[in-house]
Symmetry: C2
Subunit: 157 residues, 2 copies
Amino acid sequence: MRLSNLADYAVVTMSAAARHCGGARSSAAELAAETGLPVPTVQKLVSKLSAAGLLRSTRGAGGGLQLARPAAAITLADIVEAVEGPIALTACLEGHDCIHDHDCRVRPHWPVVNAALRGALAGISLTRLSSPFASSEVERRISAGVSTSLDTNGVLV
Amino acid sequence: MRLSNLADYAVVTMSAAARHCGGARSSAAELAAETGLPVPTVQKLVSKLSAAGLLRSTRGAGGGLQLARPAAAITLADIVEAVEGPIALTACLEGHDCIHDHDCRVRPHWPVVNAALRGALAGISLTRLSSPFASSEVERRISAGVSTSLDTNGVLV
DNA sequence: GCTTAATCGGACCAAATTGTTCCGATTAAT
DNA sequence: ATTAATCGGAACAATTTGGTCCGATTAAGC
């Protein structure tokens, strides 16, 4: 039930990349310096994130990385899936047939849980993560039933 | 983003225990036979589940296990927390101060995500997991906006 | 058109958490 | 008091994860 460190780092890296929203290409080394993560780790991450279509990489001298989509169109679910694969709590749904019980009573219920989980993560966009507002403020507004969303600049609306 | 095997097995074990809802104490070996899990693994599980107050264990000859609460009052979140500890996607919230950046921009947003996640898991009760209905049926009713819940016998209401 | 320099992409190696197994302490019935 | 069956905790092995390195690719500069 815990995110892998890589996925955690991926979120931080994407958040840092989103701050370069001017469109300026930032290198992996630059992102590593901003986030405090080891350079090779960031290299491994941007590789996966690019393959998933979240980052666009430009190679060669003067190259670098930039967001492939607007920050508002990138969610936590996208980032997690890019690093960890499909969001599924159990392995019994993807090929690895559970040896134990082939008509397991709980197995048909996992898709519902997975969908609920993915929905929770898909509700958090990158703009919201880069928001200067503390989560407590956002949380208070949500629980108060106030319509809460952020524009592309991370401004609370 | 994946449940540990132990947590998965814990859900299966609790589901099996819920089927003995007549109040009959079932032994760990019995549960292992029903679920197809190794006996020592189940022993380790019931140990944690008892410590968390989800199962009540009676020692000695003729002893065994039974649910400490009605199945309707036990949720997936309870089981997961019993085995894996608090539901938190990142480790930076519990003591392990992130070495990298002490005013991390994404860190204040994790509590919201954690709460959303826990809410999704807390919405699935043990009665629903033991339901004879396939999840697709439940899911269809939910997405159709039909009020969907299950009584203590797992009957769709 | 060639050289140069800086980038990403993939493969190898080490560490840590997890999963399994075993044995001893405790308890109720006989 | 004895017996038998249970749970609880401790030690060991394995798979996944995290970190590091080097090579292939690419665009700019001359």
